[in-house]
Symmetry: C2
Subunit: 130 residues, 2 copies
């Protein structure tokens, strides 16, 4: 999956969520959305068993997001940059951030390259911290 | 911006948000996130003036999302599909959905093509309804 940058993390799922949120905040990202796909599927679909823990945190650095929207007013359709936290089949917890260069690359606008580079560097530090 | 499918809509901003939400629900999408970028920028950045109205609705059809995750466990980094509603420079309200084929195309997984096609058809009907 080369549209993500990711890391397998030891620890309890809720604990990894908390550590990821804190690491994102330390890199200047607020969490603007927090989607519980596991809970949504269990509530809306007729499943035979519980779905795996699967949350998606929408991470936004307001200054960088604003720069992006100044370049491309439609860029909000690609924001915020998501960080998925989920249980792998073997029970490990995976933290997977969308690759900002691939995501913002959809706009084919070179003015966005420095923003994508900056978000990538910050995401890499977040994953290193976990 | 060929990573979106969009439409200019007459009407008050909040009214367009309401109509868009309702049209999405009629096509089987729940709104799993609702991000107010205008309000976020005003709260977090030192702006000289108010930011334009700019909201991003995260639209999710649980059945299709679950199919997508069954194919690609990391696909949550690209979900939900965003529908941005914002004021254009001339005051018109624009409803811009991310192009599902471009977004899911990042995964380069042909098994996702029918899902992207289905979401695209539904988004096109949502925009037609507005």
């Amino acid at each position: 999956m080369d549209y993500t940058i990711q890391k397998r993390v030891d620890g309890d799922f809720d604990d990894v969520i908390e550590r990821t949120t804190q690491a994102l905040e330390e890199e200047g990202f607020g969490i603007l959305s927090d989607i519980d796909f596991g809970g949504t599927f269990e509530a809306k679909l007729d499943l035979d068993e519980e779905y795996r823990n699967y949350r998606v945190l929408g991470a936004c650095n307001p200054g960088l997001a604003r720069q992006g929207l100044d370049e491309e007013i439609g860029l909000g359709t690609l924001l915020p940059c998501n960080v998925a936290v989920y249980e792998a089949d073997d029970g490990a917890v995976v933290v997977a951030a969308v690759d900002p260069k691939r995501l913002l690359g959809l706009a084919e606008n070179p003015a966005l390259d420095p923003i994508a580079d900056e978000v990538t560097e910050r995401f890499e530090r977040v994953l290193d911290d976990l």
